[in-house]
Every structure is written in structure tokens, then in C-alpha cells.
Symmetry: D3
Subunit: 251 residues, 6 copies
């Protein structure tokens, strides 16, 4: 299954988030009904070796494997898709040039500059992976600064770009607000809808990071193609905290 296949079927993708570097935590997540799972190599405590083990854990199911890279750098982008990721989220894309530098790493020549060597991808996605890879892999450029907002049409009009991914916390910081999930009635909220509209105008997919299932549902209703809810780390902290409080009579 790929992102494009789900989207072509007419529905949005429910994405889960992985910040804990342990294959077993990933397997627990992968059996709960997510469409895709993202290994967060940016803010999660995860290095490439962990990411490979987590992508392997995802492959025990049919869930779509995705990564967020720490920052734009061609080496880690290409290593991630060679390891089997079918989606890549790239932080802090602030201009068309940065978007182009990013997406060119996802495509083999002549459409890009991805180096050939899909060592695990070809093993798990089929012998014809190399022929199909340019269309199987989906790149998400993160729109999360005022600069990106101002360049939004330049960015989303880039032909090889598949999708944008909105990071509301950084966007809030950049717009002078406190970092926060699930904004309503605020400049950040307006910016989110504006990015969505411009992406749609140029025929691109749009994704957003959320802090609750309810907000995620609302964003899908607003037109988003992918929504992220929760994370393994958050579920541990919230579940433990709730149990401790319940024991002490706090619930």
C-alpha cells in the first residue's frame, strides 16, 4: 500500500508518530489501526540504526512506513528510502529552491538525483521497486515558518513535490505565538487553512500534525489528506500519569 493508493481511493490517511527507539514499541503501534506510521528522526530520540529496526517492525504489518528526517541533507533522505520508507517528511522547507533540493533526492534520473541502491526497499517492496519508486515514494515538505508561508505558491507549484506537511508549533513560534497544537481562531489557524487552499489550488496533497483525534477529524473534513494524531511517547506518558492519578484518587 502507498499513500497515493489510499488517496486515490478517496479517503484521508491516519498517521501515527514514533519517538521511542524500540522495535517492540513500533510493533505495538503498528497493530492498532493506523494507515501509516512515521519514524521521527528529528525530534524523536532516534538515529538511523533505530529507524531501520523500526521500519522493519512496521513491515510486519501492512502499515505504510514513513520517516521524518532531522533536517534537509541528501544522505539521510536517500538512506531512509533505501531502507524502505515510502514517505519522507522534511522539516523547514522555506523556499522553492529548498523544496526542489529535497524532492530531487526522492527521484531517480532523469526526474531527480537519487542514487541507485534500494537495498531494503527492493527486498520488501518487490523486484520492480526501482521502476516504480519515483511514483511510490511521497515527499512532504514541512511548511512551518513565516518565510515558507510567504513563498507558499512558489513551493506548492513545484511539479515534483507531492505534498506539504504543516507543523503548527513551529508555525506558531514563527508567527509570534506560543507553540501549541490544534489552534482555533488564531493567525496560525488561518495560516493552516491558507496553506491547505494553496496546496489544493496547485493539485497537491496537504497534511497536518494535530494533538487530538477530534481536531484531526475536523482537519480531514476541512480537506486535509493526511493527519497525524498522538505518539508512542505521548501514550506512555499520558497512560502512566492517568493510572497513577487514578490510584491516588485523582480521577
Amino acid at each position: 500500500m502507498t499513500f497515493k493508493q489510499i488517496w486515490e481511493s478517496g479517503r484521508a490517511v491516519l498517521n501515527g508518530w514514533l519517538s521511542v527507539p524500540a522495535g517492540f514499541a513500533t510493533e505495538l503501534m503498528a497493530r492498532q489501526g493506523w494507515d501509516s506510521l512515521t519514524v521521527d528522526m528529528q525530534h524523536g530520540l532516534i538515529e538511523y540504526g533505530d529507524a531501520v529496526r523500526m521500519l522493519t517492525a512496521i513491515t510486519t504489518t501492512g502499515v505504510i512506513p514513513m520517516v521524518r528526517v532531522p533536517w534537509f541533507e541528501p544522505g539521510i533522505v536517500m538512506k531512509s528510502i533505501d531502507a524502505g520508507a515510502l514517505g519522507v517528511i522534511c522539516p523547514m522547507i522555506n523556499s522553492r529552491a529548498e523544496a526542489e533540493a529535497f524532492v530531487s533526492c526522492l527521484r531517480y534520473a532523469p526526474r531527480g538525483r537519487r542514487s541507485y541502491g534500494p537495498i531494503r526497499a527492493a527486498l520488501i517492496h518487490g523486484a520492480d521497486y526501482a521502476q516504480r519508486a519515483n511514483d511510490m515514494v511521497t515527499g512532504f515538505a514541512m511548511i512551518e515558518t513565516r518565510a515558507a508561508l510567504e513563498a507558499i505558491d512558489d513551493i506548492v507549484s513545484l511539479p515534483e513535490l507531492d505534498a506539504v506537511y504543516i507543523g503548527p508549533s513551529d508555525l506558531a513560534l514563527s508567527l509570534g505565538e506560543a507553540p501549541r497544537f490544534d489552534p482555533v481562531d488564531s493567525p496560525v489557524h488561518d495560516a493552516i487553512l491558507h496553506i491547505l487552499a494553496r496546496a489544493k489550488h496547485h493539485g497537491k496533497r496537504a497534511a497536518v500534525h494535530t494533538g487530538s483525534a477530534a481536531y484531526a477529524r475536523k482537519m480531514v473534513d476541512a480537506g486535509f489528506d493526511l493527519v497525524t494524531v498522538g505518539s508512542d511517547a505521548a501514550f506512555i506518558a499520558q497512560g502512566a500519569s492517568a493510572a497513577v492519578q487514578a490510584f491516588h484518587g485523582g480521577t
Copy 2:
């Protein structure tokens, strides 16, 4: 802090459970208010190297570190306390001889046969650890079979034994019932209260594994000295499942 110090202060210990082999998952757990955390080397997917990393993560807080060993074997019992665990839960203690074999591993001569070399324990618990270790380390013998039930007085009257730990699932299986947490009105429930009573009669501490904060609270009210609620693995699975269902309107 040690188990004995909490007990002497007149309250019960709230213990959390660790099945995910990742220091960060442990740190997330360790900041939620538990009195102690147990690294489960029996049913968790955890080997000794993982356990050391998890015990290190626990030491970033004041939470009491505990392990459950995979099975009684002197090497792993002693390695766990040398690594700094202040409590050891040992599965399947079915006779006084087994209890004695276990607890002798927790005490230096002449009270036992623990080999000297508290490499991390002395580093983190203080230069006088070796002098105090025999009283700082608490051993929990798991009572979880019909055989153990029948030998309960022999077991709990063993002077060096500190405490018993009841595993309701195995006890249920052994008594011919389905494995289950939080039994009520059943032979397993009766057995749990009987073990508690016999332990108390011999001046020993009693602990029980539970499936909910409410049942745990009830067990403390019944006289238990330590109750375990939840686990990192369960919090991930439950939190993720709830989020996915909420998104799909299932809540």
C-alpha cells in the same frame, strides 16, 4: 529510597511495569509519579544489557529500581542487584527450598551467598552500599501455582524472605481457570487473600499484580504492601487504539 523505607513510613508502594527495551520509554515512565518501576526480564522483551540501560534511566529520578528475573538462576539474580536493582521479583517459587535458593543470592555471607562485586550498585547507592546491601535489597518470591499455595506457610516463614508477589494469571491457570487480571468472587481471589493473610501472619510483605488502578487501590485497602498497575507496553497499545477509534468516531 528503598522499599523498606516506604513501608516503614506506613504506606503502600505503587509500582509500574516496564516491558519496552528503551531507556527513553523508561524515562517517560519514571517521571509520572510511581514509587518504583520493575524491569520485566521474564515476559518483557528485555535482555540484561537493556535492563542496565533501563535501570540507568530510572536512576535519573528517585524512583526505586526493581527487576523481575526470567527464572530462578543465581547469575541473573546477582547481576541485577550488582547493576543497582533494589528489588528482585523471582517467578515460580513453589517451595521453601526454592525460596531459600533465591533469597540466599541477595545476601552477602554469612547471611547468604551473594558474590561480592557491586559495580554499579556501589557507584549509585553510596560508598557504604556493601555494608547496607543485605538490608537495602528486597526479594519478592512469586506465588503463582497450586504447589506454592500448598507450601505457603513453609515459604513465608523463611526468615530471610522479605515478601511475596502474587501473579494472578499463572495462579488462575494453575487452579484451572482462565488467566485474568483482577479476579473477584473466584477461587483465585480467595487464594490471593489467603496468601496475603499467611504472609502477614509471618510478618512478611505482600505484593500483587493488577490490571487497574481501582483494583490496585482495593488491594492496598485489603492490606497489600505493593501493587503493580499498567505497563509501558499496555499504555502504548491502549492509547493508540483509543486514538484510532476516536478518529473513526468509535468513541
Copy 3:
């Protein structure tokens, strides 16, 4: 898929062998057509944490996961099946008592003494795993000494024992010959066929470790239910050696 399901379909199992502690090596093996793969924790350089990662790699395919434990010890036997192994090979079973001690670890009460907590097994094999586990898990007692040979009827008549696994190298050493794979016209060869016959007489499955596909095929024709051929480590050494020699004109 389980061993029993393949056997009931009337064919033998082709088993591959894993000695390299790397999930990617396991994934490479798992996509080559084996029915089952065995993580060798005895002579391979593999500890439990590696084994979990390798079992996870196997689960990315439909190949049946098996382990060989280092030696009989209840802790590691039960940890392996809790981690999802559907077969366990136990070295050096030399008597009915040893066979009984081993197989009792594979069965929940009342058929055995397996402790309850199938943490990964229940996740990957289905919510009803615990109900079905006693019949899903297959135990192989290694017959590899003169003592075992002499006690063969005592061993294979044990009701809960599923199968025997013949280690020709150790059997050869024990019978005073040099350790060697694929014996013909020798006391070891005779012993292999004798063990096979006694196992079949008692309705048990029989497996044998071989050094070549041709010998393995012959053993299946002789009646064996599972044959092991090659290993990841051997394929690396043989492939590399052949390439180096071919380059230097040695082929």
C-alpha cells in the same frame, strides 16, 4: 502458518539457519523460499535481544519462526516463545526426564508449567494465541549423544514431545567419530536412521541438520519431516571465498 499445518498438508519443512545477529541478514534469508528459519542462540553469536530483532525480521514474511536455545534452562525457553517463536530446538536432551523438563516449558497448565505472558506472541499470532499456544508451539529435543541414543524409546514415547532434531556433529563426536555433516555408510548414519525409525514408531516428527541440499532431499525421502540446510554465515563465507578465487582464476 505452523509446523503442524505444513506437516498435516503432507510435506516436509525446509528450514534455514541464522547465526549472524542482524535483522537485515535475517530479512535477506526470509525472502528466499524457506518454510522456517531458526535463530541459533547456541552456537550462533546471538543473545536474546538479537533474537527478538531477528524474530521481528522473520515476521515481515510468512516464514515460521524458530529458535535454538543455548542449553536447557526454563527462562530462555519461555522467553523465546513469548517473543513469538513457534518452534524451539533444545540441545542435548539425553533422557526422558530432560525431555519432560523441556517440553513442560512449552505448555500452559495443566499440560505444563509455561508461565503466562505471551507479550509479543499474542500481538503477532492473534488475540486467541493463549488458547491455541499449546498446540501451535512445537518442541524439538536434540538427540546428539550416545546416552540419548540409548534412551531413545524413553524419550520419543513422551506424550507431550512433538519431535526430535538430530545433530550429526555431536552425535559423531559422542560415537567416537570426527564431527561431520551428511554422513553415509557409518555408525552415525545408522544411528540417524534408527532415531528416525523410533520417532516414527511413536508417532513423533523427526528433523535433521544437514550440510547440503542433496543430502537434505535424501533425508526427506527417507522420512524426515524437517531438514535444515545452510546458514547465513556459511553463505557469506562460501560466496566470498568463491568470488575471491574466481577473481584470481581459481575457478
Copy 4:
């Protein structure tokens, strides 16, 4: 505790150095009286996953955690502080532009471009970490080339820069001398004092890597705010070599 708090108390920081990728080596170091410890991801044999485990080991004490990144690259700088480092040493800062690129990664908007997601930092440094992070995190620009020396006023006058860190070995190489610790009466020694003077002139902190406690003490007396002495790797090599020589009568 932060660097700034120690400095405001009027004393210099004694920093230790970590090159061995093992949490236990770090814990041994962390209990010997250092004010801060630096995980060297540049010349040490340490990748990000190791660094996280070592930062966790440091957190078992009150020692200030610091990292040296391999080279300036925004991803690894931000991942290090998200993991809880309170100081970052960045190699080879040779111009004001490079200094600015570096320090902007340490500050949230509007003071910089650090991406929001302090996953471990917020866990261990308190719920208000994000509000305080811009002032808690200290950036050290390494001054270690002739080019940097020539641009020293441009660099140290950068407002957001906290401190410089002098690498005497590279500075020596760049000035045409042999790499060496603890220079006296040499152009490198003069350069070190010149850098110190220019940093102080612009109100910035200055740090220097040394090879002995005596030289470190001298540098503190000269006005340095942080001095590094020794490393886990050096202590192993020196201690072992001394023991072997003593055994053979060499002492």
C-alpha cells in the same frame, strides 16, 4: 544547574570529556566531581544513539550535560539539545556567518530558527523548559584556525554567541606547528590569550581544551571560564599503561 548559573556564581567550570560510547563509562565519570561532561560526537567514537544513552547517564547526577557535534549541521545541533544537552560545542567556526548559522540553531524564534520539539529536554529540565531554553542552552564556537583568529572580533561580537572554545591542536596545525596540548611560549599560546582577551572585550565567555590539571588551573587563573581536562579514553589508556609498567618494574 546551567553554565550560566555557575559563571554567575563567580567561578570557572571544570569540564570532563567522553569518548567511550558506554553509559557505564559515563556514569563512572559523572561521579568524580566534574561540573560538566561533554559527549564528543566529533572525534570520539560516538553516534547519536550513544550520545542519548550517555546524556541519560549524566542525568543520574547533577553534572551539566554538553555535546560536541561532529561538524556544523543544523540537524545534529538541534537533536542534541532536544535530547537534553545544555551546552553545544561546534567545531571549526571560522567566520561570523558560520557563528550565526550555528547559534541560530540554539534559539527559538524570534531569536533563532530552532525547531520546536524538546522531547527529552522538557522531560528532564522541567515543564517550563521551552520558555527558558533560549537562556539555558549555551553555545561554544570553536576557534581553531588561522581564519577564525583573523575574524575573531567579527565572531565574538555576535550578540547571540555565548562563548568560544579553543582547540589548541587544530590551532597549532593551522599556524604551522605540531598539534599539541598545553602550549607555552609559542604563537599558539599567544593566540590563545589573544582569543581570550577579545572574547572578554566583547563580554563573552571563553573555554579551552587542556592536557593537564595544572595547565587548566593556569588557564582559569588567566581568565578562562571553562577548562577541559582529560577524558575517559585517556584515563583507561594511561591507567592501564601505568599498571602494566609498574608490574614489570617500570615505575
Copy 5:
């Protein structure tokens, strides 16, 4: 032993390839007769910590250790040689400027900008490593795009560059052909020979990645100084596939 010493002895280097992140797989490879082994951090599933363990495994023999870095970035190039690699292959060098940026990382001042701190290199290559390193370490610039082909004379005339390494798959993609090893009678084949000729014209060494010992031998006869054949991953897949097929009568 270094690359230069083999070349000065008048023969070509036979290089093996490592994609499996396991020290034991590396040790198996290292005992089969290769002159050098390359840890592939680009397309292999290998991070820096794995690379260190694999370089350690190589050091158990006299085989020359080499790495391929994921992409040009000074940090990973320098970390690799600090860890003891005597050769570095850098992907996608498309201009003289890129070649210069790369090779400057391999040389201490004044010949380059390598930072001083050869932590493992000095341990294993001798106390005089730092004096000899500029000549011991060999840099291979990958020539694998049409752009590189067009700039070939600019690149190979760079004085500090030691050698070029041809990646036939990427070169084929860049020239509009399917990625493939061992080309004959094709533009890629012509390009390979052209690169070889220009390298030789400028007194530089030339290397090529091949898919078979026969083609590698042919390339040595054509004048190449280093040829790569096979990989640990390929030997596992090919060996396992052949065994399975042989068992099923497919051979």
C-alpha cells in the same frame, strides 16, 4: 598495509563490500582473501556506530579498511578516518569544487582542513599516524553522473585527489539507461573506459564497482587499480536462493 603500498607493488586491489551491520558478518568476509573491505554507509543499512564495530572486525585481520560515506558532508568523512578507515569513497562528486571540498577533509593543514583527533586511527595504525596520515589515507571520488563525466578533466587534475571510483548503476541512470552492473558495448561502458583514460592521463588511480569476478578481472586487465566484487548481502541472498532451489530440484 595501505592502498598505496599495494599499488606500488604493481598489482590491483580486490575490494569486498559490506552492507550487513554486524561485526560477525564482517569477520566472516575479512577471512576470505580480500585486499580491502568497504563499509557502505550510503546504500547499506549501516550507521556510524555499526561502522565502528565493522572497522574493528576488519582490524582483526590485515585487510585494508575503507568506508563509503552517505553523501559528502565533512563530519562523517572525518569521523570515518578518525575511526581508522584508510580509504573513503565519496558519492556523487560532480565538479572540481566538490572534489576539493571532499579531499580537503582527508588532509591535515596545510594540505587540507581535517580536524585533529585520530582517536582510533592512532591507536591501531601506530603512534606516528598523525605524521603519516596525509599519505596513508586514500580518497576516492565517485564519478557517476553525466555532469561528472563532463567535468572529468577538471576533477582528476586536482592534485590532492588520489583516485576515482566509478558507480556504473548511477552512471547508467544519468546517461538514460537502466541501472545495471558490468556493462558491455554501451555508452556506459565507453564512459567507464573514458574515465579510466583521463584518470591515468593525470596520474590518478581508478576503481570500478562490478557484479562478477570475471568482469572485475577484465577491468583490472583494462587498467583499473581497484575492483569491487560482490557483497555480504548478495552472498546471503544468492547462497540461500541457490540452496532452496537445489532442495526443490531446481538446479
Copy 6:
């Protein structure tokens, strides 16, 4: 090189001790002049996977690799020598039966019950390893209790036993003294010399753990064949503590 070869050359073995689970720490130790190094799986924080990496690090030199197992258990003893250890120290051997159970694990039939599969040992010690292994591998039974002292003649007269290893700390505890290295004028000191005398009387080698090079030298002069001095962990702690104190003027 083996222990026996050194002893036959007429000199004692200087053994170093490894408690830090990091290959690099081991490589640092291995280059300082020790005859042998022991990976301590008992009191060190080391699991089997760490031990394999440390044994690999030792193999980069000619130093003799040894392990101390956590406790007597056939699986870990055999795994250690399959991984290439040429010496095994086994804790707490208190009777001839225990000694026999231990040493039988070190010998192939008919001299013992070691299972065949020297996967790394045969790779690194030569193709004829299996033929020579019974004489290459040296077993050290730890004598460290009053019970062992009382059974000393029974133990050291066991033909297959190679050597005893005295643990002064545990011996002191068992004799009612405080655990301490380097005893003089005490019952422990007398016991050490008595064990030495009985071992020599039966033609066996004797080893002792010491806390200083001076005491070690004295023990060699007294007739000991192997002495252990220091450890990687101790060198870190002592070196760091000395540097910190020197900085603060404490020296």
C-alpha cells in the same frame, strides 16, 4: 598465543580486567601490554552480545581473550568459547562435582560434553581449532568460599581442571572478614597461599585477583601463574578523580 604457551615459556601471565561494555574501551586496554584480558560477565555490566564485541576488539591484537561467566551454567560457558575465548573463569566452584560439571563443558567428547559448533573460534584460531581446542582452552575454577577451601584437594586433583582462580573478596566474606583486595597477615592471606600450595602439589596452575601491581608482582614471586591487576572501570574512576582533585589543588 594461549595461556599454556606462556606458562611453558616459564613466565607468569599479566591479566587485565574489562567491566565496561564497549569495544573501544577494550581496544584501548588491549594496546597497553597485557598478556590476557578478561571480559567480566559476572560483576561487569556486560551481556553476551557485548562480550562478543569485546572479544572481537581483543582479536585486533595478540592478547589472549578470556571471559568470566556470571555463574556456572553450561550454555554461557560453551557460548563463550564458541565466540573465541581461550580462557574461562567460573565463579563459586565449591566441590569436585561442581568443578567437574564446569570443566566438562570445555572439552569435546570423549573428554567432556562440549557441543560442537565453534563458529567464531574456528574462524579466528585456525581451521584446525576443533582438533586442538581441548588443549587450547583453559578453565579456571574460582576458589572463593570456606566450602571450596575445605574441598581444595578434591577440586585441584580433578584431572581435566587446568587452574584455580582466587577471589580474595568473596573468600574474605566467607571467612568472616570484610571484602578487600591484597590481604596481608590475615586468614585470607594464609588461605591464598594454602590454595596455591595445594594447586601446585597437584600440578595445577593458580591465579589470583589483586588490587595493585606491587601485590601482583609479589604473588608472582610467590608462585602464582596468572595475576589480575586493575580494570577499565577502575582506571576511569581513579584517573578522573585524580584529575579533578589535582585541578582543585588536592594533590
